[in-house]
């Protein structure tokens, strides 16, 4: 089989879908890998490295017209035009956020697989791109905050006085949130965190941080694959009331709360921002889905009453090297499900394939995306 | 007076016994029990003395049974303890 690695054209995207170490495994198994020239350079993987792993370097057309195209994000218009009927395209295709792009993709006759739709089962953990990229995002968010903050994270007792440690508040203790907690703790900050899911408290404490408890109904997420649900209005009010004090006291807030396919919950109001000290920072990782802060604007840095609100939408790209390495490993694990010696074997009996294929045989097959397209909502 | 002296000896020996076993790890419970059981086979001395002066047939039979039983206790006890303890040899590095 021929596997193509196209170069991402999106602005600010430095990642590459497969790294040379993964390519080496594929070529060893007899597959042919075509890398679009320069595809990995921004992530620190030069063309020579790919050649060293047995890949050939080609142009965009060659990479996009492979049997299996492994992309970071949704195929560009140019890329899509090269796609071969019957080929497989995989990547972070944002099926729930941007379902409208899929009918066109379906018409090219490719089987498209979205990493976001991979079910979060135990077996699928090694293919869980959302987790791996959220890991990077949580880490990067803390570094961004620490770098930009006007004070130290750790406590320091020096001849020039004692510097108090910074207070970091993490909202949403999913993968990114937990990683943010761990990183901020490493740097010596006093960390507390909040989440709506019942099991989050123990997990937060398992990282040595304090859980902010808000008197409300905790969610049991075991039925929803670990994801949170939108909360009732009454609960929302309780949350906002409960967070008012912790937010006001925080030097840094890192918010990561998200609900798949829905706008991010509002956790920080304008008023709460204004209650913060001059120089405080909010890093809103939920910016892509609207942000947890009322003032967040995606990919912008807002200063409101001396508080900075960052809305980065692609933090993993800031650590493109390791982010790509993890992405590549995930992609390899997923490709193994359908890449055989003889050819492609898309087996819809496999719950991972069934859950993650969006278009197949010329049609949109994913029920939830179909429902969205039919205007049925979630 | 003899009895009092015997009691004195008994009490002192009991003190020694109490003091000697202070903190044994559970894995040694069985071997230690087995080993001290073998020591309690010291009745063999009594058996031998009694056997030496037995004068009736009944006495002889009793003496023979006593010697045999005590000897089983002594020999068997020490040997089986040794076998148990063989397993404790520190694994070579």
């Amino acid at each position: 089989m021929i596997i193509g690695i196209p170069k991402t054209t999106e602005a600010g995207e430095h990642r590459v879908s497969l790294t040379p170490d993964v390519v080496a495994r594929l070529t060893k198994e007899g597959h042919e890998v075509v890398v679009q020239s320069g595809a990995g350079t921004a992530a620190g993987f030069v063309d020579e490295a790919y050649e060293g792993s047995g890949a050939s370097i080609g142009d965009a057309a060659r990479a996009w017209s492979a049997d299996v195209v492994c992309s970071v994000s949704f195929p560009s218009e140019e890329g899509a035009s090269h796609l071969k009927r019957g080929a497989v395209v995989l990547g972070m295709l944002q099926p729930l956020d941007e379902p409208g792009r899929f009918p066109a993709l379906a018409s090219t006759g490719v089987t498209s697989i979205a990493f976001e739709a991979v079910p979060r089962t135990t077996r699928a953990q090694s293919m869980d791109v959302l987790s791996s990229q959220a890991t990077v995002a949580g880490y990067q968010a803390v570094l961004m905050a620490a770098d930009r903050l006007d004070k130290f994270f750790p406590m320091l007792t020096t001849a020039a006085g004692t510097i108090a440690p910074s207070k970091v508040l993490v909202l949403g203790a999913g993968v990114a949130g937990l990683m943010a907690i761990a990183t901020a703790r490493r740097l010596g900050a006093i960390v507390s965190a909040f989440d709506v899911r019942a099991e989050a408290a123990e997990q937060v404490q398992s990282l040595g941080a304090r859980f902010v408890s808000v008197e409300m109904e905790q969610q049991d997420s075991s039925a929803t694959g670990g994801y949170a649900k939108e909360v009732a209005e009454e609960t929302q009010a309780k949350i906002l009331a409960g967070l008012a004090k912790p937010v006001a006291e925080a030097d840094v807030v890192i918010s990561t709360a998200q609900i798949p396919g829905r706008p991010a919950p509002l956790l920080i109001t304008r008023q709460m921002v204004e209650s913060m000290r001059p120089g405080a920072i909010i890093i809103d990782l939920a910016a892509p889905t609207g942000g947890n802060c009322e003032l967040t604007r995606a990919d912008e840095s807002i200063v409101h009453s001396n508080v900075t609100i960052e809305g980065p939408t692609n933090l993993p790209s800031m650590a493109a090297g390791d982010a790509s390495r993890m992405f590549g490993r995930n992609a390899l694990a997923l490709m193994k499900l359908f890449l055989t010696e003889e050819g492609l074997n898309i087996d819809f009996d496999d719950d991972i394939i069934e859950g993650s294929v969006i278009t197949h045989g010329g049609a949109v097959v994913h029920p939830r995306v179909k429902a969205l397209l039919d205007g049925g909502g979630n | 007076m003899e009895l009092v002296i015997s009691i004195t000896v008994f009490v002192l020996a009991a003190f020694v016994g109490f003091e000697v076993i202070t903190k044994v790890p559970p894995t040694l419970h069985t071997p230690l029990m087995s080993g001290s059981n073998a020591i309690s086979g010291v009745t063999i001395i009594g058996a031998l003395i009694v056997a030496g002066k037995a004068d009736s047939t009944l006495g002889e039979v009793l003496a023979f049974v006593a010697v045999t039983m005590a000897m089983i206790n002594v020999i068997g006890g020490f040997l089986v303890t040794d076998r148990m303890l063989e397993m404790f040899k520190k694994k070579e590095r």
Binding site: T122, R123, Q125, V175, L178, M179, R186, Q203, S206, G208 | L3, S6, F10, A13, V16, G17, F18, I21, P25, T27, L28, H29, T30, L32, M33, S34, G35, S36, N37, I39, S40, T43, I44, I45, G46, L48, I49, V50, A51, G52, S56, L62, A63, F64, V65, V67, T68, M71, I72, N73, I75, G76, F78, L79, T81, D82, R83, L85, F88, R93
Partner: protein, 457 residues
């Protein structure tokens, strides 16, 4: 040989017993302790033979038969059969005391009051030891039913027997009733041994044997009073006292009391161990001391940390434990499962906090092959990541997830609070493995105990 000399030599033998017992209570010296005690016994026997002469056929025959049988049994018994054999040996010891006292009585049927009292004590205690030990033997080898049970009249019978024994004892002291009283005492002792031991469960037999062992020591000591021989008095008292202490230690290690062991069948107290079991299959619950010995004498230990380590915030204690083991020459490494914990890299964060060197951390693919060559796999608060079902059971919901093959290690030890499942919510067959020990408890508390226990090795 003068009486003085032989008395002195007996004293040496007694001293050897003392030294032997001392050494028996530490793993490193136990074997030499047993040998010392055996040497003491040999000396004592030789002295006795020299003094009384190998005149009687009874002596020669008894020694030959006894040694032969004892040696044969000790040599041929299976490892698993050892406890019951010890019970039997103990019974023989008790029997011998009965015989010695009886024989002495036969030779001198009208002794002084104090002598008859000691004879009676020797006979009764010896008889209880004899029959009780053989009951224990039967329970352990399955010839008698192993479960604890009570029979209706039991509550009455034992007290009755004891009362009778006391009454007969008083008669002896008052010098009423002759040899009949003594023989009745013998029979009552035998009966009491049976009725007292038979209701106790097989699992508690080790404690019973230890207690009967103390009895046989006292019986030997009484025999010493009878024939006025200090060697017997000393050794018997030694065994009696140390046996009592040992029983107490054993009972404490089971978190019970002696009374609870002896009379558990009445109250129906549960004697199967701690832990909220979710399954009826048996698990081996170990104590911190057991695990400490297992690890302290191992060459290599692989630690598998899991989410429970994080919940307990036990990373610092873990590191302490590893330091201690390494100081003892044990090779300690950490196997990090890719999804251990609740976030990617959770274990790395935790172990970095405890400053565990990166060289000691191994990823699954790098260490999995080493488990078969590893003495102990120590699983701390992990569950799903060591669940063999993921490897062996195609029907398991987690089938296909790579796991750490801890079950291939010589021994696996799991520290967690209960048998309840982990994140995936499924039962873990590892816990029921023959070579797996469960150390129940909060990871931090349990490892603090481990640290203490290892330090004391």
């Amino acid at each position: 040989m003068s009486q003085e000399l032989s008395a002195l030599i007996y004293l040496v033998a007694a001293a050897l017993f003392i030294f032997g017992l001392k050494r028996l209570s530490s793993p490193a010296t136990a074997r030499s302790g047993n040998q010392l005690a055996a040497a003491g016994m040999a000396i004592a026997i030789i002295v006795t033979l020299t003094n009384s002469g190998i005149s009687a056929w009874t002596i020669i025959a008894g020694i030959i038969v006894g040694s032969g049988v004892g040696a044969y049994l000790a040599r041929t018994v299976e490892m698993t059969g050892m406890p019951e054999l010890v019970a039997a040996f103990n019974g023989f010891g008790g029997g011998a005391s009965v015989m010695v006292a009886s024989a002495e009585y036969l030779q001198n049927p009208d002794p002084a009051v104090q002598t008859i009292v000691t004879i009676a004590l020797s006979v009764v205690i010896g008889a209880i030891t004899f029959s009780g030990s053989f009951m224990a033997w039967g329970k352990l080898n399955g010839k008698l039913p192993g479960q604890p049970f009570g029979y209706p009249a039991q509550k009455l019978i034992d007290p009755l027997i004891v009362a009778t024994i006391v009454f007969l004892g008083v008669m002896l002291v008052l010098d009423v009733g002759g040899s009949f009283v003594l023989w009745t005492l013998l029979v009552l002792g035998l009966v009491l041994g049976v009725t007292r031991v038979i209701p106790i469960g097989g699992a508690d037999m080790p404690v019973v044997i230890s207690l009967l062992n103390a009895f046989s020591g006292v019986a030997a000591s009484m025999a010493g009073f009878v024939i006025n021989e200090n060697a017997l008095i000393i050794s018997g008292a030694l065994v009696g006292a140390s046996g009592l202490i040992l029983t107490n230690i054993m009972v404490k290690a089971m978190n019970r009391s002696i009374a609870n062991v002896l009379f558990a069948a009445f109250g129906g107290a549960d004697s199967t161990g701690q832990g909220g079991t979710t399954s009826d299959k048996p698990v081996k619950a170990a104590s911190a001391e057991d695990v400490a010995i297992t690890m302290g004498y191992a060459r290599s230990v692989i630690v598998v940390p899991g989410y429970g380590l994080a919940v307990a915030q036990a990373q610092h204690v873990l590191r302490e434990l590893a330091d201690l083991l390494e100081a003892k020459g044990v090779d300690v490494r950490y196997a990090i499962h890719p999804v251990a914990g609740r976030m990617p890299g959770h274990m790395n964060v935790l172990l970095a906090e405890a400053d565990v060197s990166y060289d000691k951390l191994f990823a699954l693919e790098d260490i999995n092959g080493d488990f078969p060559r590893t003495d102990v796999a120590l699983i701390v608060g992990a569950n799903d990541v060591v669940n063999p079902a993921a490897r062996d059971d195609e029907t398991s919901p987690i089938f296909g997830m790579p796991i750490l093959d801890v079950d291939f290690a010589t021994t696996s030890v799991v520290i967690k609070r209960s048998l309840s499942p982990g994140f995936a919510g499924i039962d873990n067959p590892l816990f029921y493995n023959e070579n797996n020990l469960m150390l129940f408890g909060d990871a931090k508390a349990a490892m603090q105990e481990l640290v203490k226990a290892v330090a004391e090795l």
